[in-house]
């Protein structure tokens, strides 16, 4: 059974989270130059994205810097407010939650960041890092905290002797294990992992990737895995969404995305993935044109300037994301030409 099929079998048809027409808008140019210039006064880092996150799956969000993948991840955790659209989690639109309801939500949604050295308090021991959420959310009584902390440490592959260490006494891989442990303390329904292995060295990265996989298989936690690394995404994710300047360009099961990409951008990204022998003839995967300027006034497809398949009407509006098969959707007017290649 493929990983995607397993994920479907494991999860019900009802998604754990439904992102509906979400826009995250940042204000720009509040200074004098902003007032004086004709440039737009805002930037939509996430631009009308709709996406289901299924229970028990690892959903990869892949894109380059500026694609909006991290912004979506943070919006899911309510670290950014939605300008437009909704995020439904267990039937409730969480974009409107406040106060104690929001606090209760935070228990179920956790995040793991890229750089564990800066996401852990340097003055807290590992025990404090792991015990604080347990106590704040009253997960277990005081006298059981130490037992629970040891349990979490074991789960992430660290010996209980690490309990009294400070972050500076740990290596990068060990720190990321603690950060993963902290995210697991409250048994969340969903973990957003933002470039969680990007800062790690090659030999340590595979240890942490295996840990993610073990945890996911053991606990069934839904993970949104944000990464720019296509190899990593393929290893870990059941489904993959490809983002580019705030738009979701393609979404489908991992194998489908890698074997039959239907968006020119996905095709170009995968072209960069193939190791080429030295002195091989180069295949033009993307034009050298400058990337889309998100603060500019261009309308039309975000990928227009670099796209080798572009035609005139790509300039008028950005193509909507449409289903090309039950599981696979793509936002490109010309996807059939890519399918024919």
């Amino acid at each position: 059974m493929s990983l995607a099929a397993e994920a479907r079998a494991a999860g019900a048809d009802e998604p754990l989270m439904r992102i509906d027409d979400l826009t995250i808008r940042f204000k720009l140019g509040s200074g004098l130059s902003g007032i004086m210039s004709d440039l737009p006064k805002h930037l939509d880092a996430v631009d009308r994205v709709s996406l289901d996150i299924r229970k028990g799956e690892v959903l990869g969000l892949v894109g380059e810097s500026g694609s909006g993948k991290t912004t979506i991840g943070k919006a899911i955790l309510r670290l950014y407010d939605a300008h437009q659209g909704s995020i439904f989690f267990r039937g409730t639109d969480i974009t409107k939650l406040r106060g104690s309801a929001l606090r209760a939500l935070r228990r179920d949604l956790q995040m793991i960041f890229q750089d564990p050295a800066s996401s852990l308090n340097p003055r807290q021991t590992v025990r404090t890092v792991l015990a604080t959420p347990l106590l704040l959310h009253r997960v277990c009584p005081h006298d059981e905290v130490d037992r629970k902390v040891d349990e979490i440490l074991t789960q992430v592959g660290l010996s209980p002797i690490f309990r009294n260490r400070y972050p500076h006494e740990l290596s990068g891989g060990q720190l990321q294990r603690v950060a993963i442990g902290r995210a697991l303390t409250l048994s969340p329904d969903l973990i957003v992992a933002d470039e969680a292995v990007s800062k790690l060295d090659v030999s340590v990265r595979s240890q942490i990737l295996n840990l993610f996989r073990d945890i996911q298989e053991e606990l069934g936690t839904t993970i949104v895995f944000i990464t720019h690394d296509l190899h990593v995404a393929r290893y870990l994710c059941h489904r993959i969404g490809v983002m580019y300047f705030g738009k979701l360009l393609e979404l489908g099961p991992t194998n489908e995305i890698y074997e039959n990409p239907r968006h020119p951008y996905t095709e170009a990204l995968l072209g960069t993935l193939k190791p080429t022998a030295k002195d091989d003839a180069e295949v033009a995967v993307a034009e050298a044109g400058e990337a889309y300027n998100p603060t500019g006034t261009t309308v039309g497809c975000r990928y227009y300037a670099r796209c080798p398949y572009r035609v005139d009407h790509c300039q008028t509006t950005h193509p909507p994301l449409e289903n090309i098969s039950e599981e696979h959707s793509v936002a490109c007017y010309e996807w059939q030409r890519i399918a024919q290649r």
Binding site: S171, S203, R205, L230, Y235, A268, T272, A286
Partner: protein, 341 residues
């Protein structure tokens, strides 16, 4: 390996027995030990390793760009037909300024932020004007020469770029402009330290292609420092693998990829390949982490993580053994040594 290296005209850089370290508040901290390498004209030597492997310290030692508290010693340091070992700093600075170029991860550091891009080209053309009458003519018409070079590296609007400040260009554009500057400069040695690590996948691929062109055009000796095996495979003729401050394996790219000898190289390659060839299997791990340079194991530095470790590895520091077409620092290959030691 003999003590009197055979002088051959096409070797641009020859280093034997380089040690380097830093004077710290609590004593001397050795970083790299017994590094020996050669780079011929027109050849790309890759130095690969994880963070803390000493690859950058090796590069900066060669350029005499280490901070004040660093100490270096060499048995042999030949650059072109010069013995640089005893050269004073001022003479070396001239040599570096006229013969060597360095490309860092972040191109902004290579530019003077207060000067326009054009000023930088002007400086380089002025400096190279003395090389030949052609260079002198080129220096007079430097604007057009600069625009031509920028066109070669994929900057279509070179005339505009000349009038812009470095901060007005994107990271990819600035790296392109820097490569155009290197082309104008025509150095005998180019050292690039992770020059594409900050860039997005597609831009990274384009810049790597540029480096390949650059190399073909200039016929310089090229040292390429990276942590990425895939990148090293696409660009380098020979590869030196570093671990904990030592070269553990050195050989041609093809041989190292086809038949890695050192257990560390084997582990690195297995990890990288497992991610590329999605098999669904668990990733092979290299257990443990890099040792701290102040607390190296007494024997082989890789022994604590090595799957083939045996008694003597824990107590002896293995030398580099000469195998046909290969140098390997591992006791497993002691009997294969052909140097007649």
């Amino acid at each position: 390996m003999t003590d009197t290296p055979i002088r051959s005209d096409d070797v641009a850089l020859r280093i034997r027995g380089l040690n380097a370290g830093f004077r710290m508040s609590d004593g001397y901290l050795p970083i790299i030990e017994d590094v020996s390498l050669e780079v011929r004209k027109g050849e790309v030597l890759g130095i690969i390793g994880e963070s803390g492997s000493g690859k950058t310290v090796t590069g900066m030692s060669i350029l005499h760009l280490l901070p004040e508290n660093a100490e270096t010693e060499w048995k042999v340091f030949d650059f072109l037909d010069l013995d640089v070992t005893g050269m004073d700093e001022e003479a070396f600075r001239d040599l570096r300024g006229n013969r060597m170029a360095v490309v860092f991860q972040d191109p902004t550091g290579a530019f003077n932020p207060a000067k326009k891009v054009g000023w930088h080209f002007h400086q380089v053309f002025e400096r190279t004007a003395v090389k030949s009458p052609d260079h002198a003519i080129r220096a007079k018409d430097w604007r057009n020469a600069a625009i031509d070079l920028m066109r070669d590296v994929g900057i279509a609007h070179g005339a505009n770029v000349l009038g812009q400040y470095p901060h007005q260009l994107s990271g990819g554009m600035l790296q392109r402009a820097l490569i155009a500057l290197v082309l104008a400069f025509e150095p005998d040695l180019i050292l690039a330290d992770e020059p594409t690590t900050n860039l997005d996948n597609i831009v990274e691929r384009q810049i790597l292609d540029l480096f390949r062109d650059l190399q073909k055009r200039l016929d310089s000796a090229f040292v390429f420092i990276t942590h990425d095996m895939t990148i090293a495979a696409t660009l380098c003729d020979r590869i030196a693998v570093m671990y904990a401050g030592r070269i553990v394996e050195l050989g041609s790219t093809k041989e190292i990829f086809d038949d890695p000898k050192h257990p560390y190289t084997q582990g690195l390659l297995a990890t990288a390949l497992a991610l590329e060839e999605k098999s669904g299997e668990r990733l092979q791990e290299i257990p443990g982490e890099l040792p701290h340079p102040g607390a190296l194991p007494p024997g082989c530095v890789f022994a604590p993580r090595c799957p083939h470790v045996f008694g003597r590895c824990e107590t002896e520091r293995p030398p580099l053994f000469d195998l046909p077409g290969r140098e390997v620092r591992c006791l497993l290959y002691e009997d294969d040594d052909v140097s007649g030691r």
